[in-house]
Amino acid sequence: MQDELTKEQELQLNEWLEASAANQETYDRVTRLYREELADYPLYAAAREDEAWAKVQRRMGKGKARVLTLKSWAAAAAVVILVAGAGLWYFSAKNGAVGYATTAGQQRSVSLPDGSTVVIGPQSRLSLARGYNKTNRTIELIDGEARFDVVHKADQPFEVDMDAATIRDIGTSFTIDKTADSIVVRVISGRIVFIQNENRKSTEIAAGGAICLYTGSRRAEGIRETAAGGADSLRFVDAPLSLILVNLEMRTGKRITLADPAVAQKRLTLNLEGEAFENALEVICSSAGLKYTIRDGTYVLERKE
């Protein structure tokens, strides 16, 4: 390097090098850095912190959840928020019950005292009834999405209470997506009994099946049930997006999730029969103003910017 400098530059360089040993050391380090020719720039450019962080979050979610139990809470009270720092978790409790909640973009896995597990989706809330695993195994899903893997106990059935409906487990794995005007349940393995609380009508759903109960402003539309591979399962008239995705998952075995649970309420009229999976997803996305990406084998639908 020194051979290529002008005389003046060489003089300046030598004066600087002789000024201190630290300068010489720094010069050596600089030279070494440039000799490596910054060869790992492509790796730097390809690094994706956001995607890597998403993997960290998923792994952190497998750990034990923090739990706080509040003492005697007024029945009429709303949610109590206890936040340390960022407010990732907030805990709601009523009459000594224990609650879990997630914020946007968060997903948490919780191990229940009876060995069952629940994966709570983003912006979702649920609570365990008082005396869980002692006098009952009842969980209230307040809103949002949750997946349950239930340890069967014949003498103490597992139940999920959702105001308009209750699910009773017969030994299963299932997901529930509860929005303002619909409850969608998908059974992954085993069987559940779906009970409409208003009229106590019960429906048994087997693995691969799904059921959608319209509530709130849509309650007049009643209930829709889908068996796995049903002949009409990919034709929809003004159906909630959550149900459409349920049916598409059942038909194809692919895993689809919504980045923003609020979008689950969107109503679409579509006929996806005969469409290849990704074409069907494109149709859904363009109808609903969404786009999809694939992350760890899961198709994630999110709003277009």
């Binding site: 390097m1 290529e4 400098l5 530059q9 300046q12 360089l13 600087w16 300068n23 720094t26 010069y27 380090r29 600089v30 030279t31 070494r32 850095l33 440039y34 910054l38 790992d40 720039y41 492509p42 790796l43 730097y44 450019a45 390809a46 690094a47 912190e49 956001d50 890597a52 962080w53 993997k55 960290v56 792994r59 952190m60 750990g63 923090r66 340390a84 720092g85 960022a86 407010g87 990732l88």
Partner: protein
Amino acid sequence: MSYRSATMSPEEEQIWQAIRQRDEQIFEAYYKANYRLFFLASCKYLRDPEAAEEIVNDVFIRIWEDALTLDIQASLKFYLYRAVVNQSLNALDKRKRERLRHEELREDLRAAEEWEEMEDNELKLKFYKAIDELPDQCRKVFKLSRFEGLKQQEIADRLGISIKTVKNHITRAMKDLHKVLFDYKHLPLWLMAVNYFFWCHH
């Protein structure tokens, strides 16, 4: 800062305490701000981006889980850096490690030398970040010249611009990148060294 004076800065202390108090937002921000430093450090040994990512994540998850029992007196960043490097070395299979022992590995590296290595990597990342922040066309010209080794005429032909424009872009890139390097050690030498490095390729 030298290795001997490497203790936690007040800012790092705040971050560490926040992590110990399970503040996931702070943890996430710290992770994202430093991910590439640790990622590149691991890639240097593993040459495998996926494995490097996993090692960085392993280290961060461990620090999250063990935060209450860990006692970190020195720099948090250096602690994590050494953990990533050590775990990367451990991940190499025996055969590779023995070969590398004679070539690049410095398993008996003193802590002070590791500290300097981390500082060098931080400088490199600042340089890379400055490249990312160059205006679009300027960045394209710089990358074609620096990383693809094209001559000025070749760059002009590829981008459909004049040689004069290529030279202007290179001058602009040099000014911006020089600021990063000058801030590092306040050296006019840097300008000469970088100028040499750049112009000797053309």
